[in-house]
Structures are given as structure tokens and as C-alpha cells.
Point group: C2
Amino acid sequence: MPSPRLKPSDLLTIGEIARRTGLSVSAIRFYEDKRLIEPVRTGGNQRRFLRSDIRRLSFILIAQRLGLTLGEIEDELAKLPQGRTPTAGDWEAISAAIRLRLDERIAELTRTRDRLDGCIGCGCLSLAHCAIWNPQDQLGQQGPGARKLIA
Amino acid sequence: MPSPRLKPSDLLTIGEIARRTGLSVSAIRFYEDKRLIEPVRTGGNQRRFLRSDIRRLSFILIAQRLGLTLGEIEDELAKLPQGRTPTAGDWEAISAAIRLRLDERIAELTRTRDRLDGCIGCGCLSLAHCAIWNPQDQLGQQGPGARKLIA
DNA sequence: CCTTGATCTCAATTTAGGTTGAGACTGCAA
DNA sequence: TTGCAGTCTCAACCTAAATTGAGATCAAGG
């Protein structure tokens, strides 16, 4: 009498999901730590992942490529419905939100390039007058690294 | 008999150059450590900067905003002539090089956006087929952080 | 049953780009 | 010549995003 309740084939070990996503095992554990993903545990305390988690992890990879921090990604993932496996429509909504960010970054870089053109023309690179060094528009990466700590 | 050899007014202390560039004193010392700038020293071992170093530091700030790492910035600065104060023309050459990088990044992001549009259309976010997740074109930021260590 | 590979947790280390603090010395002005 | 702000060096610490290693435990095949 085979048990119909358990379908272990639907659950993936951390090694399996790592292979499927291309992520390292340690990175996946790290993401769990950061609450980006929540696998269930076996009686022996090992992680088991849903198939839909592959898509979730893929999203993390893609969003990182688009320049989002893990914190921002967590915010996006929080928009997914709790309790049920996300549908294609759920993912579409998030993708659209990311498209907006992408558009902004492209616009910022384009503005910067145009200003740089002006600077090349005038030979200008002095902070006092340079149009690039204008606090009014923050480029995506807002200034030197640890400076963020001040904020 | 005033000494005509010394023109201390042409040399700036670290505090002065920090005020003029908006950088912190500690950041400037850090850049010296990274060989991005080489102030001379007084008999009492204090740093003294040339006026042209203001422009050099400004360049560092601008290049960072454009997404270059300090290492890449060092490479660009290495193109400046040794021994003489850089001219406007010297800076123009470097600005032009950076403009190229900017163009590349804009092109990359634009390609990515177009692909994302395709993904939104098909609801696709699976690594196996997603056009965004294509190792063939590396977006400027090449994947998750510490992964760089491997290379 | 036993071995072996996979996992587990937890702490330390990495890179980039700095900041912060301690304790000592400099330099300029009154 | 003293007073004090500015500097000096050096070491420790910070965030992000992970990796690496130690030592223990799990799970599945033979």
C-alpha cells in the first residue's frame, strides 16, 4: 500500500535545486538566511524545495543582473501571493515593475552621457562647474561605497 | 630675503583639498593607499597636494558615478603624462574613453529591457529558456558579488 | 549494518570602498 | 613658547554578497 500523501519527487534537495538554477549551494542557504526563500525541512532537518522555488531563485538571479540589491529583491518577492504557488501572471506583474526601473536607469545613463559630451567639448572636469557632478540627479549607484552608511 | 623657491600657496593640505573636492580626508588617504594619487610630503611628513590634484580627484568621483571601480580608474589615470601637469587635452582623451564605456552600458541595458519585454509577453522566467539569463552577454555587473573571487 | 556522499550549523574570510578611533606629532599664530 | 587645530599612522570596523572550512549528522545503496 503505497502512500499517496507523500510525493517526494515533487521536492528538491538543495543540491538538486542548485544544479537546476546554476546557483551554489552556499548562495541558496545565504538567500534563505536573508528570507528570500523558505524551504521546508525533513525530519532530519534537511532543506526541501518546491519546484516553484526554481522560478523564485531564477528571478533573484535575473533581478541581480538588472542591478537590484537583495533587499530590493526581497521587497519585490513580497508581492507574490502567500500560500499558493505563483502563477505566470504574478511573475508578469513583478517583471513589469522591474522594467520601470530599467527604463529609469537607461534614462539616467543617457543623461549622463549627454552631459559628458558637453564636458568633453569644454574640457571641463572641475567639480565646481561640471554638469555631471550635479547632486540634483543621483545616478543609480549613489556615490562611493561606504558613504551610504551616513544616510 | 623671502625665498623665491618655495611657493607654499601652490600646495594644498589634505584638509584643503578635501574641502575643495567634497571628499573626506580619510577617503583621500585611502586613494593614496590605492595609488590613485601621490602627494608630496613636508619635512614633518604631512601631505601636500598640487592644484592639479583637485582635477584628478574630481575625475575619480565622476568616474565612480559612471560605474568604474577604483582599479579601472587607476588604469585610466595611468594614461596621464608623468612629470607634467595634465592639460585639458589629456583629460579629454580620458573622457572620451569613458564615453565609450557609457555607450556600451546603455546598449546592454537597452538589450536587456527589450528581452524583458519578450519575457513579460511570454510569462517566461525560467532559466532554461529565458533570453535575459543568457551567459553570452555579460551585463556590466557580472553576477553575484564574491563570485568574482573565483576568477 | 555500514560506508560514502550530501547536508547541516556556525564562524571566519573575502573584495570593494571606505569610516572611526587611539595615541602621537606638526605647524602656525598669539 | 605654548596652545590647539590639523595631521600622521595603524588597526579595527562597516555593508553587501557570498565562499570556505570544521565538525557533526543524514540518507540511501550495497
